[in-house]
């Protein structure tokens, strides 16, 4: 059969979520995926024998628990486990471990600065407050402020009410917080650099902004607003790697009767009379569908798989101007043992978390300066996690798997495109830096895979390898995402929708984009809504 009610382009977690909800509502759906595996960037792959790499995304905290529960993902094999805190490494050799236990975390902070240990209580309360408001918007379709439709006005009032509930003073603080740089924001709380850097990493991960750039404090919030079982700011690992998330959603999708076709890259979206009618695959197959949903990023959707002539005027240009910048690299390493780090207590609670090689605020910012100039820093910011310390399924016993996320890595070098040699030099920079904090680290390396934005784009299809499918700056958030006027998942072509992280609420393995898009599609089809709106936890 080559006709479906809906065809979804791209089997990333949002595409699968979208398809699952459409299938749950009784639609006949097909997900087409260009790779021979599903998951997009939420993927587990055995890239070295015995090791399962979460080769792109590596941790998870934004996965909406109401979706997890609603799609029964646990029954489909998903388990999310919160991991313990992260050790932050400073240029001067000092370390800061963020313990899970409040007492230990306090004593550790106090070792660095009594002032900052106290200030951390306040920061946590403030971030929790900010998160609670923004979290309520994640599973809702952003209102269109230019519209007078009752629903948009209702949603705008909802937003206004939520913000109003903060009280006047906090409302000002919230506005400030949204526009400040991570550095200015953290300066208001802390006096020591190492405490600031331990929080600032969240402000730059995945984004083409520096810690000193206005707007990076929102990115910080975007990374801490997630939670695992209601504990805000906690990060989780998916047992079996990030692919477990995609596999569970795919399993849910299949249980509702949906289909997935791999090795089925889309050549072109078919448009007839201003309506999407299906897709042509790269192998020439034509799949007709009443509805076409793109899980690709906005730039790729409008400039790669659609004809410019099929689009209303201006859309192609909007897609070209859409900010989707490659700024991150990834180095995945198979290790023969657990690395030991200098100046870190030998303590299983500490060593089951992550590591952040941040250096100092200046070091982080200088890495951004390098990115602006089209090169990578000798001293990049690295956020690492060793999931195998928790997850017995991703490496052989006694062996380990380490994910290293590097900020920044340019999509293209000033002196030309990436080459395998340059990519390897980049990887070398990363392990050289880790070796400085963990003498003997390099000797543990069994296998290593280096990904620059170029590799990420080639494999996963994210434009420039941008992990959020587009920058999370104010001009591309909420009703501006991906472009003003098209933030409600409907595309400028009839019967066509977007469901990827290019839409509200953006990246971060939340499944919210896919679910929200499904809600809009079902509304247009006048079908009963199957998508939960509010998160299932009281705050």
């Amino acid at each position: 059969m080559n006709h479906y009610d809906a065809v979804i382009i791209g089997a990333g977690h949002n595409g699968l979520t979208n398809a699952a909800y459409l299938a749950k509502a009784g639609l006949d759906v097909l997900v087409v995926e260009k790779n021979d595996y599903i998951g997009g960037a939420a993927v587990s792959r055995e890239l070295h024998e015995g090791w399962v790499y979460s080769s792109c995304s590596y941790v998870c905290s934004m996965m909406r628990q109401s979706l997890h529960r609603d799609l029964d993902l646990s029954r489909h094999g998903l388990m999310l486990v919160p991991y313990l805190g992260t050790i932050n490494f400073a240029d001067n050799g000092d370390t800061l471990s963020s313990y899970h236990s409040e007492e230990a975390a306090y004593n550790e902070l106090k070792r660095i600065s009594r002032h900052d240990a106290d200030a951390m209580f306040r920061l946590q309360a403030d971030l929790t407050r900010y998160s609670q408001v923004i979290r309520k918007t994640l599973l809702r379709t952003p209102p269109d402020p230019a519209s007078f439709k009752p629903r948009d006005i209702h949603e705008l009032l909802f937003l206004a009410k939520e913000f109003w509930s903060l009280g006047e003073k906090e409302l000002y603080e919230y506005i400030r917080f949204f526009t400040l740089s991570a550095a200015d924001f953290l300066d208001e709380y802390f006096e020591t650099d190492i405490v600031k850097t331990s929080m600032a990493g969240a402000g730059i991960i995945g984004t083409a902004l520096g810690v000193y750039s206005p707007g990076s404090s929102y990115i910080l919030l975007h990374h801490v607003m997630g939670d695992v079982d209601g504990s805000i700011g906690a990060w989780g690992l998916a047992r079996g790697g990030m692919g477990a998330i995609s596999e569970a959603i795919a399993s849910a999708l299949k249980s509702y009767g949906g289909e997935i076709r791999t090795n089925a890259g889309v050549e072109r979206v078919l448009v007839k009379g201003g309506k999407a009618t299906g897709v042509v695959l790269e192998n020439g197959d034509i799949i007709s569908a009443d509805i076409v949903v793109s899980n690709l990023d906005a730039r790729r959707t409008f400039t790669k798989i659609m004809e410019k002539d099929d689009l209303p005027p201006g859309i192609y240009e909007k897609a070209q101007n859409y900010k989707i910048r490659g700024s991150s690299g990834k180095v995945n390493i198979a290790l023969s043992g657990l690395p030991k780090f200098t100046n870190v207590p030998d303590n299983p609670y500490v060593n089951r978390g992550g590591q952040a090689f941040s250096g100092s605020m200046e070091t982080m910012e200088r890495a951004y300066d390098c990115w602006k100039r089209g090169t990578w820093s000798d001293d990049p910011f690295i956020e690492s996690v060793i999931p195998s310390a928790w997850d017995p399924t991703v490496a052989p016993p006694g062996m380990h798997w380490m994910s290293n996320f590097i900020q920044y890595c340019p999509p293209e070098l000033a002196d030309g495109p990436w080459t395998p040699e340059k990519r390897d030099q980049f990887g070398q920079t990363v392990i050289d830096k880790i070796e400085r904090y963990s003498p003997g680290f390099k000797d543990l390396i069994v296998h290593m895979e280096v990904r620059t934005p170029w590799e990420i784009e080639q494999e996963v299809g994210l434009t420039e390898g941008n992990i959020f499918q587009g920058e999370l700056t104010i001009d591309q958030l909420l009703f501006n995402r991906p472009f003003p006027g098209f933030a409600q998942y409907r595309m400028p072509i009839k019967n066509m929708y977007m469901c990827g992280s290019s839409t509200h609420p953006g990246g971060g393995v939340s499944s919210a984009c896919g679910a929200n898009a499904a809600r809009e599609i079902l509304m247009d089809l006048r079908r009963p809504n199957t998508v939960p709106q509010d998160d299932c936890y009281d705050e």
Binding site: I175, E188, P214, N321, E365, K372, T473, I474, D475, G485
Partner: protein
């Protein structure tokens, strides 16, 4: 019985405007100035024998309303045209004249029309709000809610697409915005300049620069005021309206009493020890100076004090004044009778900013050059000229400190940069004066040496300028008001903070 109805602290242009309006309404007003002359950063002084200048060089958007209300033309106020032109060392140039782009490619000139239409529309929309008190956002009265409703309506009335575009464009960095329209590096640096100068923003900094640019687009942006005339006109107009002006009268403290339930300002004490009472004290000093030095934190709330202390007001601009033997010849230019921007592309601007954010001197400074003696012949002896150069970006807190060698290094790099555009200029220099942000702070009593008394950034603007709790000109202390650039709408020589504050003071 108070000696005065109002005391205005600081005779910068905002203090002059504010006191002038109050006096016009029959108030007994005393204007106190710490320096020898009125005008603050806009005061004209001799920096080299026979050569005079002021730190502030141009006022491109002084509202007509203030000019008319205060009858400034009667007191000698004059204006002339001052275009902005960006030069390349090779002698290429692009310029903005009468709202059009000159010297650029046809594509860029066409794109500029679209760009200008959009921004101009936004600027028009905002225009009335610069002359209004923006109410606080909580516990509003109906009239205050109406102010927001009006803004919302105005945004909506721009039409659906422009409204949508507004919400997107307002947060864009200049780098991205210009990328969407034009392609020539020189055009980009030309168009980005007014969004950046004077504040801590680089082409790639999001959120703040477009609003900054819109602020600068109010009024007629090519009309420039002769600074010396402006200050003299304001002073004479104030005196004519009955303002009593005392210069060389630095204020030591603002007197506060706590007789009733609320705190109230009752007057000032001068450094000389003289106490002067008044029903109102209106400070045009920057918020940090006003609250932390003149009032004292024991009269203020703790978080409020800390918000004031945290105002980001570290200046980024140094000033180099040159006394020149003759008119310098710039490559490809007949006369330097405009604002000359010496920044070949936005990357150069960004790099200069990058150095400064770490407290370093820019490797390649970015310069804005004016020659005020071309429009005011009395600034320099016959045939000689004064050149006034804004040097971006130079940190207030230089890592190594503003010692002699750092100052020399900065001056040398500025002159060297100038030489690539005007090869003979070094030999024309008769004298010079370099004012770093630290110098501006000590010389002109401006915290951080910041032109605008605080960065032009969203978290320090509108109902948050200088901070919530003091953003409607009134402060937590009854009878104490602010009227300086640290209040809405902000810096530059607009007189609007003084104008708005006078309205609040009278209400």
């Amino acid at each position: 019985m108070n000696q005065y109805d109002s005391i205005v602290v600081g005779a910068g242009h905002n203090g002059l405007v504010c006191s002038n309006y109050l006096a016009k309404r029959g108030k007994r007003v005393l204007l106190l100035e710490a320096g020898e002359r009125c005008g603050g950063l806009a005061s004209t002084y001799e920096f080299h024998p026979g050569f005079k200048t002021s730190v502030a060089q141009y006022a491109t958007h002084l509202p007509k309303r203030i000019i008319n209300d205060l009858k400034l033309r009667d007191f000698g106020y004059a204006s002339h045209k001052l275009d902005l032109e960006a030069l390349s060392p090779e002698g290429d140039s692009v310029s903005l004249r009468s709202g059009s782009l000159f010297g650029a490619s046809a594509d860029d000139m066409a794109a500029y029309q679209d760009y200008d239409r959009l921004l101009d529309k936004f600027a028009q929309m905002f225009q009335p709000f610069w002359q209004k008190t923006v109410p606080p956002i909580g516990n509003n009265s109906l009239s205050e809610m109406l102010a927001f409703a009006e803004l919302g309506l105005k945004i909506r009335l721009m039409g659906r697409e422009d409204m949508q575009e507004f919400f997107r464009v307002i947060a864009l960095p200049m780098y991205d915005l210009l990328d969407e329209y034009v392609s020539s590096p020189l055009v980009k640096s030309l168009l980005s300049w007014d969004a950046l100068i004077g504040t801590k923003q680089a082409p790639r900094s999001p959120n703040n620069s477009v609003l900054h640019l819109l602020y600068r687009m109010q009024g007629d942006s090519e009309i420039c005021v002769n600074i010396q005339n402006l200050v003299e006109a304001l002073t004479q107009s104030a005196e004519a309206n009955g303002v009593e002006i005392r210069t060389a009268a630095p204020v030591e403290s603002i007197q506060i009493s706590q007789e009733s339930e609320a705190l109230a300002a009752t007057g000032v004490v001068l450094e000389s020890g003289e106490a002067i009472s008044a029903g109102q004290v209106i400070s045009s000093a920057d918020p940090k100076t006003t609250f932390l030095s003149l009032v004292g934190s024991e009269w203020l709330e703790i978080e409020f004090t800390n918000r004031i202390q945290r105002i980001r007001d570290r200046g980024m601009v140094s000033k180099l004044h040159l006394a020149l033997d003759g008119l310098p010849a710039f490559n490809g230019l007949d006369s330097p009778d405009r604002r000359l921007l010496l920044a070949p592309d936005v990357e150069t601007i960004e790099c200069a900013f990058d150095n400064a954010k770490y407290g370093e001197l820019p490797e390649q400074p970015v310069l804005e050059v004016t020659t005020p003696s071309l429009s005011s012949s009395d600034l320099a002896p016959e045939g000689k000229h004064v050149m006034s150069i804004n040097v971006m970006y130079t940190p207030y807190a230089l890592k190594e400190g503003w010692n002699v060698s750092a100052r020399e290094a900065l001056q040398e790099s500025v002159v060297k940069t100038l030489e690539t555009y005007a090869p003979a200029i070094r030999s024309q220099i008769l004298g010079s004066e370099l004012l770093t942000p630290a110098d501006l702070e000590s010389r002109f009593h401006v915290s951080g040496g910041h032109w605008h008394h605080g960065d032009f950034a969203l978290d320090q603007l509108i109902m948050m300028r200088p901070t919530h709790g003091a953003a409607q000109y009134k402060t937590p202390i009854d009878g104490l008001l602010l009227c300086g650039a640290g209040t809405h709408p902000g810096g530059d020589l607009t007189g609007l903070p003084g104008f708005n504050a006078a309205r609040e003071a009278l209400s």
